[in-house]
């Protein structure tokens, strides 16, 4: 580990390709349809600054492998971080036990797949950068937030970066690897005035190199944005409650696309017929102004990957086209059972997890209306500026927590508002999209999505959107 980590998985797993071939066959020894080995090596770094000092740093190493066997609709899974041949073989036998067929398959020889794209061509890889340099970036963001205004009483800045090496081997002869960098600088600022205390947040990053902090978003800007938000929330009132027109700010409101639509277009929920969309392929599910994509190939984005965690080359995937349901996010299992092509959306948190269909970078395509025109069209309503997050059920019912927003009165943004909840059903909202802005933006490169206990880095985006009516929860 004194040298930069090697790209060859064999260097971290002291096992020959021939032995892995053998393991893939062991995994099929009970008659499974498909076997796969997922090898992962990850180095993760963390720096935390609060109360004016670098409080701690942390380094974490994750090394292990997971073995999966598919048999019809069934999945057998074993994983281990003890990389002796015996333990790996035991994991293969565990995974094999899911099958009970007399038809035995033999895996063809492994043939390495080379691909010719790289969605994260970073110049200065964060994991090679010195800790001193990273600490100076943390301090820059910290002091920028702290010195922004006297009302800023507390700042916390964290920096995380990781480098993840993955290799996927499977019983179809696939052998393919990816090396994924990921970085995030996040700043929390707390402002106080009298009895009032409010927190603001900002951050940036992605699958980027250190050059990001001079070319794209400076630590100084990140600190200032967090401070600004905290100060503005000090002056914010709680929102009115009830049904009203809602305008969603571009970028941050992408979480709505992610939650209200994206999750329910993940293939597993449709194959199992639990998603409200399962019987609506090709049918109109929303306003014709709505076109939605999930694109894992956007360079430098947090949700991007060169191959998914099943070794599939990912594709920009059309989900909703002019209001009609057009596609699903597929992993291998669902694609095979539904007889659909792979889209490259099989992702997993780490080697201990079974891959499942996940989003990457999800967004609503831009429309024709200028953002000014949209706000101007609302007499009385709510402008949702920034979100804490959201959640959706298979039935399509969702909620979003808005951390900051504004009242709209006579076509203008007026009083700042905090802590609102938006609630509704996705199909109702999709149908009630009245105007689509021309200003597509993406949210912060800091988001993590959770599904079945697995975390995955994601990004979402949208233009300014007007929704005719939506329930706002507030006072």
């Amino acid at each position: 580990m004194k040298n930069p980590p090697s790209l060859a998985f064999e260097d971290h797993f002291n096992i020959s390709l021939g032995d892995f071939q053998n393991i893939l066959n062991t995994a099929l020894s009970r008659g499974g349809d498909f076997s796969e080995i997922y090898l992962e090596y990850k180095i993760h770094n963390f720096i935390n600054m609060e109360e004016d000092i670098i409080k701690e740093t942390a380094e974490s190493i994750s090394l292990g492998l997971g073995i999966r066997v598919l048999s019809g609709e069934k999945t057998g899974y074993g994983y281990t971080n003890d990389l002796s041949f015996e333990k790996i073989k035991k994991a293969a036998i565990t995974a094999a036990s899911i099958a009970s067929s007399r038809t035995l398959r033999e895996a063809p020889p492994l043939s390495p797949v080379q691909y010719h794209h790289n969605f994260y061509p970073v110049q200065e890889s964060p994991h090679k950068e010195s800790l001193e340099k990273k600490i100076s970036i943390v301090k820059e963001a910290y002091h920028s937030a702290q010195n922004f205004d006297r009302k800023i009483k507390k700042v916390r800045v964290s920096f995380v970066d990781h480098i993840q090496f993955v290799t996927i081997l499977n019983s179809e002869g696939l052998k393919v690897s990816d090396v994924r960098p990921l970085m995030k600088l996040a700043c929390l600022a707390v402002a106080e005035k009298g009895d009032k205390r409010e927190a603001g947040f900002s951050g940036g990053g992605g699958r980027v190199g250190m050059e990001y902090f001079s070319a794209d978003l400076t630590p100084k800007e990140i600190g200032q944005d967090a401070a600004k938000e905290a100060l503005e929330l000090l002056e914010a009132a709680l929102p009115p409650a009830g049904e009203m027109p809602v305008v969603l700010a571009p970028g941050h409101s992408g979480v709505l696309v992610h939650e209200a639509v994206g999750h329910l277009l993940e293939a597993d929920f449709n194959r199992k017929k639990t998603s409200i969309f399962w019987n609506k392929m090709g049918k109109k599910v929303g306003s014709s102004q709505v076109t939605i994509y999930d694109d894992p190939t956007i360079p430098y984005f947090r949700g991007s990957y060169n191959i998914d965690d099943e070794g599939t080359i990912p594709k920009k995937t059309l989900l909703i086209e002019r209001g009609k349901m057009a596609g699903l996010l597929q992993d291998r299992l669902s694609a095979r059972l539904m007889r659909r092509p792979l889209t490259g959306h099989g992702r997993r948190q780490d080697y201990s997890c079974i891959p499942i269909p996940r989003m990457s970078n999800t967004y609503i395509e831009k429309g024709e209306h200028s953002p000014e025109e949209i706000v101007k069209s609302v007499k009385k309503g709510f402008y949702a500026h920034k979100f804490l997050g959201g959640q959706v059920e298979d039935s399509g019912k969702f909620t979003f927590s808005v951390s900051s927003g504004y009242l709209i009165e006579k076509g203008k943004l007026t009083a700042p508002v905090k802590q609102a909840t938006l609630i509704g059903t996705n199909i109702d909202i999709l149908k009630n999209i009245e105007m689509m802005g021309s200003d597509l933006k993406f949210g912060l490169q800091t988001g993590t999505c959770g599904k079945e206990g697995q975390a995955a880095p994601v990004v979402d985006g949208c233009p300014t959107i007007k929704i005719t009516r939506m329930t706002v929860g507030g006072q």
């Binding site: 580990m1 963390f46 935390n48 000092i53 670098i54 409080k55 701690e56 740093t57 942390a58 380094e59 974490s60 190493i61 994750s62 090394l63 609709e73 069934k74 999945t75 057998g76 899974y77 994983y79 281990t80 971080n81 003890d82 333990k87 994991a91 036990s97 899911i98 001193e132 507390k154 916390r156 707390v190 205390r197 409010e198 927190a199 409650a241 009830g242 199992k272 639990t274 409200i276 399962w278 201990s352 079974i354 997050g389 959201g390 959640q391 959706v392 059920e393 298979d394 039935s395 019912k397 909620t399 927590s401 909840t421 609630i423 509704g424 329930t471 706002v472 929860g473 507030g474 006072q475």
Partner: protein, 448 residues
């Protein structure tokens, strides 16, 4: 952890790394090792969907040099990697700033009798795979017999066996083993465009205490079908009854606000409120890490500080924050054995039960909402503000009249604690955060 076989060498590994760190210049060293085995089975519509079985180990370490701290962790337990991590941590510690509050806890003279905590059930490692699969299959089968159920998210049964080894340079060296088992099911009812869903689960350290497949299935069915054909309601302020699962959710928020870490970071509305009235006399909250066989029980925390019972709120008065060693030093308090590393985690954190049966609480409600589920984010510990998507049952004249959905509830934790009008007698310790049914005087319920 190998099934039925306990490696002893991990304890030696922990000790030797403590010494290695000291010999390489660290003032203080802390090592924790987790050795675990897990099994889980998911069954859906009568067929096995996933079967996962695995053993895994991980190690965490903290070094302190000149009052400067560095952490590291690894799932690679090779000597080479671990010694590299220790050395690198000492180097990294040099780049942090000195912090007078840092450092390991002093060695406690208190000794916890680990067997008396009943953390390990020898029956769990002996359960065979067929039995485990049958438990999940049976649960789903019973649930699907109810014709109102139209689809299933599946039923799962899981077990875990873990061994935790903890050593530090103040001479602490202890280990304990713990088992866990859980049975759960998620169900849907109604047609695709008017679907409702819910789940139920039972989690225990001991297999014989686990609810039966029949009990879990029936509860999940009942919870799901009661939401069929929900109505929307107008925005209004009404009394709200929290079911025990919802009280537990509220207590999770309270826990975050009484965390010593949130207090010294000033990210809680309860800063500087120790000794003050923050709720009415009906609110008594304890955190107890020593209750035998409960989910939140542990002999010591993530820094080796012995668990204890801490009175958090006594009849509405805030008595204690829950602290790890660092937060305690910051606040000039004592650690409550609540460390989860740099944060805090609860032992068994519960609202003391009252005397009223839950049915009586419902029948006392002239008009209002029974809160049964919430979704989304919308908790702000800095202000105590709550704003969440919610599902509930509408009550008129003491009777449930119809389910409601697409509503939000909003309020403030500080106000809720002062407005609890009734406390149920149905405290059940289903989770480490647990509370009985409560009735809150008034919350805003936003609908149409």
């Amino acid at each position: 952890m190998e099934k039925g076989k306990m490696p002893v060498k991990l304890k030696e590994l922990a000790e030797s790394l403590v010494n290695f760190g000291k010999n390489n210049g660290a003032d203080e060293v802390e090592i924790s090792i987790l050795d675990g085995y897990e099994f889980s089975i998911d069954v859906r519509l009568g067929k096995i969907e996933n079967l996962v079985e695995a053993g895994s180990r991980s190690l965490g370490l903290r070094v302190i040099k000149d009052k400067k701290t560095a952490y590291a962790s690894s799932s690679d337990l090779s000597k080479e990697t671990l010694e590299h991590l220790v050395k690198n941590a000492i180097k990294r510690a040099n780049l942090a700033n000195p912090d007078e509050f840092s450092g390991l806890p002093a060695l406690s003279t208190k000794k916890i009798d680990i067997p008396s905590l009943k953390l390990f059930d020898p029956e769990i490692p002996k359960l065979d795979s067929k039995k485990k699969i049958a438990l999940a299959t049976e649960t789903e089968k019973i649930a699907l017999e109810d014709k109102r159920i139209t689809n299933s998210h599946g039923s799962s049964f899981e077990t875990r066996e873990i061994r935790i080894i903890f050593a530090n340079s103040n001479g602490f060296l202890e280990e304990y083993e713990q088992t866990f088992c859980g049975l759960s099911i998620g169900l849907l009812a109604g047609k695709t465009d008017n679907q409702v869903e819910d789940y139920w689960s039972s989690s225990k350290l001991h297999f014989k205490e686990l609810e039966s497949p029949e009990a879990v299935a029936k509860k999940a069915v009942e919870r799901t079908v009661r939401q069929i054909k929900p109505k929307k309601i107008k925005t209004q302020k009404v009394p709200v009854i929290f079911e025990p699962t919802m009280t537990s959710w509220l207590l999770g928020f309270l826990f975050a606000c009484v965390s010593g870490v949130s207090i010294y970071q000033k990210t809680s509305f309860l800063v500087d409120k120790l000794g003050e009235r923050i709720g009415n006399e009906r609110v008594t909250v304890n955190d107890d890490g020593l209750m035998p066989g409960r989910l939140g029980t542990r002999p010591f925390d993530a820094e080796g500080v012995p668990s204890q019972k801490t009175l958090v709120m006594d009849k509405g008065i805030l008595k204690n924050y829950l602290c790890n060693t660092y937060a305690a030093r910051k606040l000039k308090l004592k650690s409550t054995g609540s460390s989860s590393g740099t944060g805090v985690s609860p032992g068994n954190f519960y609202l003391q039960a009252g005397n009223t049966p839950p049915e009586k609480i419902i029948s006392s409600l002239e008009k209002g909402l029974i809160l049964i589920r919430t979704i989304g984010h919308g908790l702000n510990p800095v202000t105590g503000d709550i704003s969440r998507g919610a599902f509930g049952l509408w009550v008129e004249k003491g009777e449930i009249v119809y389910p409601v959905s697409e509503i939000t509830i909003s309020g403030n934790l500080g106000e809720i604690l002062n407005n609890i009008e009734m406390v149920g007698n149905d405290l059940d310790f289903r989770s480490p955060l647990s509370g009985p049914t409560i009735k809150v005087k008034e919350l805003t319920v936003a609908g149409q």
